[in-house]
């Protein structure tokens, strides 16, 4: 169930270039090493992606919006 929803969400967020900010991994409670690897990799990934771009549209929208012109 979860994978269906998450994959769907990732695809949908792809419209906004945000798909990489959602990640799903199955890690059992015995897989501490894997947990560390996944969380570290994802944290680094998010850091390198930079801050969530969405608040900018709320707080300082006009520059971003100007870019929406054809």
């Amino acid at each position: 169930m979860t994978i269906k929803r998450i994959t769907f969400l990732q695809e949908l967020l792809g419209l906004f270039g945000l798909q990489e900010r959602v990640h799903l991994a199955w890690i059992s409670s015995a897989e501490a090493q894997k947990f560390v690897e996944v969380v570290t990799a994802f944290t680094e990934k998010i850091k390198s992606l930079g801050p969530n771009p969405l608040p900018a549209y709320r707080d300082a929208p006009r520059a971003a919006l100007a870019a929406a012109a054809h």
Partner: protein, 273 residues
């Protein structure tokens, strides 16, 4: 057609017939009954569209045994299929009269060209996402451009709920969009893109691409493109074509048949950084 409908009403094949009646030269959604059977003479078939099945759903909720006749285009039929799948109407309680419809080379003439790409939208937009674009063109925007354009469109939203209210397959008694824990309430601008994404997610496995939402949107937000994307995902991931069959939507069946794999964390491309 009028004779057919009259005989259905007279013989009690249906309790009501939902169609359009001409009033002051305007086609108005109308509920024809045996009591006022002469109104059937004013029944019109025109390009006008309305989610008649939504009225049918309301009627069935009030009276589960009611038998409903309905003027149906392709989109109405797709909506009916979805409503059957979701147990909101029973196929045996609905009888339809097929109306001339979506453009097809097989038809002598088609009354509704609304859904044909290139004919949608009142004007060509100089900003945002033009309503008549094909989904592929919208998908082709880069991440930042796509985001800018969609956010531009979403920011126009005035939270009128027209998209939801007209939607033939929205049937919840209380709408998630009204839950202020999910979608913030109070100010305009509404919560973007949450408001639109919550609705988009709820459209998964439900949207039948009738385009009425976009028709209703006072701000010309290209909602149909957004929900087409939702449909495209359902089709690509789950081979599910909403409204075309009696199959359960992918999210309402247990996941034992899923062959999806979690996506790996991709190395950063640098495009965003």
């Amino acid at each position: 057609m009028k004779e057919q409908i009259k005989s259905w009403l007279e013989q009690g094949t249906v309790d009501v017939f939902l169609g359009y009646r001409e009033v002051d030269h305007h086609p108005i959604p109308w509920c024809f009954t045996q009591e006022a059977i002469e109104e059937v003479d004013d029944l019109v078939v025109s390009p006008a569209r309305y989610s008649l099945e939504k009225i049918a759903t309301h009627m069935a909720a009030e009276d589960p045994d009611i038998r409903i006749g309905m003027l149906a285009r392709d989109c109405n039929n797709r909506a009916l299929n979805v409503l059957y799948v979701w147990n909101q109407l029973r196929p045996e309680q609905v009888v339809t009269v097929e109306a001339n419809c979506c453009p097809s080379p097989l038809k002598e003439h088609a009354d509704c060209s609304y859904l044909e790409p290139g004919t949608v939208g009142a004007y060509k937009k100089a900003v945002g996402i033009d309503n008549h674009l094909r989904l592929e063109a919208v998908e082709a925007y880069g991440p930042e451009e796509g985001r800018n354009r969609w956010m531009y469109e979403f920011q126009k939203c005035i939270k009128c709920y027209g998209c939801r209210n007209i939607c033939p397959v929205c049937f919840c008694r209380e709408c998630s969009l009204d839950h202020d824990d999910l979608v913030g309430t109070g100010p305009l601008l509404p919560d973007i893109p949450i408001f639109h994404l919550v609705r988009a997610v709820h459209m998964a496995g439900r949207c039948i691409d009738c385009g009425l939402c976009e028709d209703a949107c006072p701000m010309d937000i290209p909602l149909r493109l957004l929900y087409q994307k939702v449909n495209r995902i359902a089709m690509d991931l789950f081979d599910y074509r909403t409204g075309t069959s009696g199959d359960q939507p992918p999210f309402s069946i247990l996941g034992d048949r899923v062959t999806l794999e979690p996506k790996p964390i991709q190395p950063v491309t640098g495009a965003e950084a």
